[in-house]
Symmetry: C2
Subunit: 402 residues, 2 copies
């Protein structure tokens, strides 16, 4: 026998459920739904052997999930082995939909994702939002949400929740934007300005991006650091498959990690914060460019054309990122670092110097750095999937007892 290690572990699916027989059943419903979703069409017997319950128990669980419209019976499997063929089960394509929305500095976007993880509807509207007050922006967003919901309902889906990604800090109530410098919003409760007929969750776009990476990334581990940037530099810390949020919900403020303690002053009060070296504004200035609408696109374009000033600016930003990430990696020992969001578009020019710096400062093998496959789509997808995830984690909350 080995004594427990007293680790910080996330609760994972359904941990919020009470520790009673009913809670147990709800967790088992979630386990069945999760495995069917993850491992394609499966028979009841296959599910049972996977999750360690008996066929009889799984049968009743499946019945309940079918009655709720979350699972559907595809009919008898093609038999390849001896014995009676099972009846294939799959998650329904006409059940709940997760509605994800994103308030970007230069765009609004909304999408609907079904239980299978397929994006069933999507709308994007370009347009600068910097400096606009929350009311008109969210009215416009509400419009888009209604479009997407209508389209989803046309396909037999019904909205199970709305998740909104914003470029800023969000309080732990998951409703209030504490500070979004790029929009000019602060201390704004978004709930009254958005459709009231669905459950609402608001979160930082870096957090949603990290969750998207966790859920949709190929081979992404359960412990990683997800770095993203839109002017500010945010990181999301994923520990054992869950987000680390911090006491006030402000964890992951990589942008204000000191890189050179005597560097230039920062708005945060400090000196030489990472943002001074790798923030969008700083990079544009270092490259001798004027900020305009599509800043990342501009940088990427110039860099691709071979503009040496831009390339040098990006190299230096990568080095600064490497210094800050060395600290983070030493503190957290993650399995990898992922560059996501808008950053992924600049990765070709950031990555070499970043990795060099990280390797130089690490004894032994350096923490691997990769680039998100999802790129700028991460936050929106993460938002929509977070709703779906909530259904998968407690299917009983939808139909029966919430």
């Amino acid at each position: 026998m080995t004594a427990p290690l007293h680790e910080a572990r996330p609760t994972g699916p359904g941990r919020a459920l009470p520790d009673t027989q009913q809670g147990m059943r709800r967790r088992n419903l979630a386990r069945v739904l999760h495995t069917v979703r993850a491992e394609g069409p499966l028979s009841r017997a296959a599910v049972a052997s996977r999750i360690g319950l008996t066929r009889a128990a799984v049968s009743t669980l499946v019945d309940e999930l079918i009655r709720s419209g979350l699972l559907e019976e595809l009919g008898p499997e093609r038999p390849g082995r001896v014995g009676r063929p099972g009846s294939a089960l799959a998650v329904s394509g006409r059940g709940p939909a997760g509605i994800g929305a994103e308030v970007g500095v230069d765009h609004l976007a909304v999408c609907a994702v079904d239980l299978r993880g397929t994006t069933r509807s999507r709308v994007i509207r370009q347009g600068a939002n910097r400096g606009r007050s929350p009311q008109p922006v969210l009215a416009e967003l509400t419009d888009l949400i209604r479009q997407v919901v209508d389209e989803a309902e046309g396909e037999g889906l019904y909205p199970a929740g709305l998740a909104v990604a914003v470029p800023g800090l969000v309080a732990r109530d998951a409703r209030t934007v504490v500070r979004a410098p790029n929009l000019g919003w602060h201390d704004t409760d978004l709930a009254p300005l958005l459709p009231a007929d669905t459950a609402l969750t608001v979160d930082n776009e870096a957090n949603f991006g990290a969750l998207a990476e966790l859920w949709l990334g190929d081979g992404t581990p359960r412990d990683f650091l997800h770095v993203s940037a839109e002017i500010g530099i945010g990181a999301a810390v994923v520990v054992d498959g869950g987000l680390l949020r911090g006491t006030r919900g402000f964890a992951g403020e990589l942008g204000h990690v000191p890189v050179r303690p005597d560097g230039p002053e920062c708005a945060c009060g400090g000196r030489g914060c990472l943002e001074q070296y790798a923030g969008e504004e700083a990079v544009l200035r270092a490259a001798g460019l004027e900020p305009d609408e599509d800043r990342v696109g501009l940088l990427a374009g110039r860099a691709a054309q071979g503009d040496e000033d831009v390339r040098r600016a990006l190299r230096d930003a990568g080095t600064a990122l490497g210094v800050a990430l060395t600290g983070a990696v030493n503190l957290l020992d993650p399995q990898s670092v992922v560059l996501g969001g808008e950053l992924s578009g600049l990765a070709p020019w950031l990555l070499p110097s970043l990795q060099e710096e990280l390797a130089r400062r690490t004894a032994g093998p350096a923490c691997p750095v990769s680039v998100s496959r999802l790129g700028p789509q991460g936050p929106l997808l993460g938002a929509a999937h977070s709703v779906i995830r909530a259904v998968l984690d407690d299917p009983a909350a939808l139909a029966g007892q919430p």
Copy 2:
């Protein structure tokens, strides 16, 4: 209904237990034991109302815990209210004992703690261990362990596990010391060199110190950063009442967070690591002192006498710590930072500059920094209590089914 936030949450007591009816019972046993321990003598009815089970259910749970020797019946309570007085229950003072051991650079220590949290036996042996090979050191430690176990057994206790704190990195198998620079050990499996008759857990002293702070500190929150130092500077990250260990178990390496990216070279390959500015060796050098046996005592003594060189060296170390902690606080948003271990003895001279630096670099209120009440005793106590904690978290593992 509010959608879940997908947070990283630790599992807390008994989360490793399977999600079955038996697992539920074991968790309920743990809940009963925990509340009786935490809230002094309680009647069955009082326990029931606290944990939300019925009196009948608690009765059977208590019966089982009494049969296992973990609880004892103190007899009828002094009645102050109407109604039949309850029968007071308390955790047994003659049940399992947690054996904690510590391998320090200058000492060995072992103690035994009972279920109530009382230290029932303790032995400390001074003597430099730097450069000694593991075999003789652990043979000596085994001696001390036997002494403490004998004494504990004389008082009716029996050892429920052995936890050893070492000043170095420990692999996630909780047995192997990967690197302990101050001892000169590396890649050593300690299990064969220690008594084999009890379950063994080996861990970093900073981790055990943080757990001690969590379990024994007065008013310590469930999210904090515990900084400790013995030559190397280690931190332990506590998130929602659990340790964050990292993929390889190396999380919390605060000593190699870059403070000045162009600073002096460090053994880790980097430059300007915190250890270069706030490590014991660096501080001694900056103060113009020679390293000797009791380095922290020497520094504290001179500083107390008013030695301006030493005070300046400690001030500068505090500033460097402040820079590194700014990064950590930005990344983790903890509720507080606690200085523990040997550091606590130097706190009077480190703290002002540390707090000043942290406050300067923080927008809004700075993260509060406090000093551990346990001081250098933290690691040893944390080790012993970790064993007790394991029993409290799953009492059934002791007697019945492990």
